[in-house]
């Protein structure tokens, strides 16, 4: 199935070399979880601070179980803030 994977701010360096922008479309196996994706791209767990699937927050405790669905947009930020 196809999902979109987005890494922002300093995490974008974990996207494949030479990739421009923050968004990657990927083919992944059914049953792939949020935690699988974080591991697959070597994002340090403590840096995967703000994790959104389709704009909705996924708490740390749910990331191991949360399976992605076709067309999901998974977006991750390190600890950041603004004003």
């Amino acid at each position: 199935m196809k999902v979109a994977f987005k890494l922002f701010a300093s995490l974008s360096e974990h996207l494949p070399g030479g990739h421009r922008g923050n968004r990657l479309e990927l083919e992944v196996e059914e049953g792939t979880t949020v935690a699988d994706m974080i591991r697959r791209f070597n994002v340090p767990e403590r840096s995967a601070h703000l994790v959104l699937v389709n704009g909705l927050f996924v708490p740390p405790a749910e990331r191991l179980q949360r399976r992605l669905q076709e067309g999901d947009e998974l977006a991750i930020w390190p600890p950041i803030a603004g004003g």
Binding site: K6, A9, G21, L52, G55, P79, A81, G82
Partner: protein, 615 residues
């Protein structure tokens, strides 16, 4: 003691400067800066005064931590009755001006009356005098700084000034210090302009003395700085990416107000984000961002210094804008960009530069352009009325309109009155995206419910800095709450509002609250200031300040019916994103909020609340 115990009163009508002792009883009850200056203002002016009349007063105030070694202790506040809203106006700024006021030996400066001719105030330690500003009138903030420094032959003098926007009484004119920091919101610069006061220049060489317990203060500030350094947000995120890093977050959440809040997601958000500021441009191979920057005593350094593309249409023939300068921050990038549908980063930086140069709040300016563009799209305004085609997304219109508004030309004069007056004039008041006449900042309350309540009840009109529940609802600071629910939000909003009043009144930056709680601020205040500065006392003072501001607004004529949101946010559902189909449910939160506050259903503090807070 934290305070200098000395205030300067400047009567602009009479041309006099006089020294007064600080009311220490009030300092014990209202702390400093925002709280203490507001206490002076509400005690000295009629709440129904015309904000632009000589009867209004304007106060520039420091807090007990301003100028000290407390991290971010450089802030000062401008308090007055605001011309944009008719409510209390209270805008604070970083940079170096506030600390300099403290070093010169003053806690605050109260301006009253109106000078018959333009003047500027020169303060050198204990000496203060008004000087003729006839030659400065008509200058930008940047020119004013340079010319005063040249005249005084002192590159270290710190200056706050108004540009043409303040002189022309653009209702959201700001007061700019240190080139690109500003007391930005609510039109405090228009009040300064109405008083014929062009600038305040301060040189202080006395440092800060009288810290109550210096050993304890050194320990408390050192520990608190370590908290900021060790926190991933204040130690890494903010210095590296600045506030603008929120652009993609808020867009992803469907909370990025776009095209005058018609939409909640902007297709070009990525092009105007913090990430885009780091990318190398195709035109010259340079990134937009040059470096980050810090205000006085700040160990976070979130500020952005950028260089515009010299080949961009806005500056191709204007080399004066080619150098590195302040911006973009999240709010400015949003208001000048997404709010108008403009995705051209260079055009946003140009508009931001002009806002800094001539002293205008980019939030209210950008949002007012957004309203004008919607009126244009609806056919209510045409090319003739505006002076050009102005559809959503037009960078050309944005660039031209910022020039016209800054100097008060043509349609720019109408834009300078803000979106409320503009939309009323053209028969569509509901299209002004504002509360109490002040335009919203960059969070759509259909997707972040608590912010709707924070906006509706903010004492200075729509504002994110009075109660930033985004910290909790989006970022999980101090705890994560669900942005789509209303339950618990009245309590959350009150807690943020009261705590923020303490950060503002202490003289420190509210951005420390991404890492600090009041428990981190308390030991610093307790070591610096004589008297009781326990946690209980701080909570009480924060609540007292909030209620004092509210009472001023109520006496100025505001009622519970003004604690509202435009119908677009409460009736037109979000079209896309995770909050698709949702409106802001203010009605579910407001009655509970009044109850939590100890107010009547009509939004007035009860006699019991007033007694409890000593008001």
């Amino acid at each position: 003691m934290g305070w200098n115990r000395k205030i300067l009163r400047v009567n602009l009508s009479a041309g006099t400067c006089s020294e007064e002792p600080l009311n220490m009883q009030w300092a014990a009850e209202y702390l400093g800066s925002r709280g203490l200056a507001t206490k002076y203002l509400v005690s000295e002016i009629d709440p129904r005064v015309d904000p632009l009349s000589p009867d209004n007063k304007m106060i520039m105030a420091t807090g007990p931590l301003t100028g000290t070694m407390a991290s971010t202790g450089g802030r000062y506040t401008v308090v007055t009755k605001g011309p944009l809203t008719g409510a209390i106006a209270c805008s604070n700024s970083g940079g170096f001006f506030g600390a300099e006021m403290k070093f010169a030996g003053w806690d605050m400066v109260i301006f009253e009356g109106r000078s018959p001719t333009p003047v500027w105030l020169h303060i050198e330690n204990d000496r203060a005098e008004l000087r003729d500003a006839a030659g400065l009138w008509g200058s930008s903030c940047w020119e004013t700084e340079e010319r005063i420094k040249t005249e005084l032959q002192d590159p270290l003098v710190r200056i706050s000034s108004i540009g043409k926007a303040g002189e022309n009484q653009v209702l959201y004119a700001c007061i700019v210090n240190d080139l690109h920091r500003a007391a930005g919101r609510s039109g405090v610069g228009a009040v300064m302009g109405s008083k014929n006061l062009k600038a305040v220049a301060i040189r202080g060489t006395k440092g800060v003395s009288g810290i109550k317990d210096f050993g304890a203060f050194l320990k408390a500030t050192t520990e608190a700085k370590k908290v900021l350094a060790d926190n991933a947000v204040t130690g890494q995120g903010l210095p590296k990416y600045g506030t603008q890093v929120l652009m993609n977050v808020i867009n992803e959440m469907g909370a990025l107000p776009t095209r005058n809040h018609r939409d909640v997601q902007f297709e070009d958000a990525g092009k105007i984000s913090a990430e885009a500021m780091h990318e190398r441009r195709e035109s010259d191979g340079k990134p937009h961002l040059v470096t980050n920057a810090a205000c006085f005593g700040c160990t976070i350094a979130c500020g952005r210094i950028s260089e515009i593309d010299k080949g961009h249409f806005t500056v191709r023939n204007s080399p004066q804008y080619w150098g590195a300068s302040g911006g973009l921050e999240y709010e400015a990038a949003w208001a000048l960009g997404a709010a108008n549908g403009v995705g051209d980063l260079e055009a946003l930086q140009y508009a931001n530069l002009l806002c800094n140069e001539q002293g205008m709040d980019p939030i209210s300016f950008g949002a007012t352009v957004g309203a004008a563009m919607e009126l244009y799209e609806l056919g209510i305004l045409d090319d003739g009325a505006i002076g050009m085609p102005a559809p959503f997304g037009s960078a050309e219109a944005l660039a031209k309109l910022v020039e016209m508004t800054a100097v008060g030309e043509g349609f720019g004069k109408e834009l300078g009155l803000g979106s409320k007056r503009l939309c009323e004039k053209y028969g569509r008041p509901e299209l002004s995206m504002s509360v109490k006449g002040q335009e919203f900042p960059a969070y759509d309350s259909r997707a972040i419910q608590g912010m709707g309540l924070a906006y509706a009840t903010s004492n200075r009109g729509a504002c994110h800095l009075r109660g930033y529940t985004v910290a909790s609802e989006v970022l999980g600071i101090p705890v994560k709450t669900d942005p789509h629910v209303t339950e618990g939000k009245p309590e959350l909003v009150k807690a943020f509002q009261d705590a923020t009043a303490i950060f503002d009144s202490a003289g420190i930056c509210v951005f420390t609250s991404f890492a600090w709680t009041l428990a981190d601020v308390q030991p610093q205040l307790a070591a610096a200031c004589e008297g009781d500065w326990s946690m209980d006392k701080l909570n009480e003072v924060g609540e007292r300040i909030w209620n004092m501001e509210r009472m001023f607004n109520n006496a100025a004529g505001f009622t519970a019916t003004d604690d509202t949101l435009p119908p677009r946010l409460t009736q037109e559902a979000a079209k896309t994103g995770p909050a698709k189909g949702m409106v802001n449910r203010l009605g579910e939160m407001l009655p509970q909020y009044y109850q939590v506050r100890g107010w009547t259903p009509e939004g007035a503090p009860t006699a019991e609340t007033l007694t409890r807070l000593g008001l």
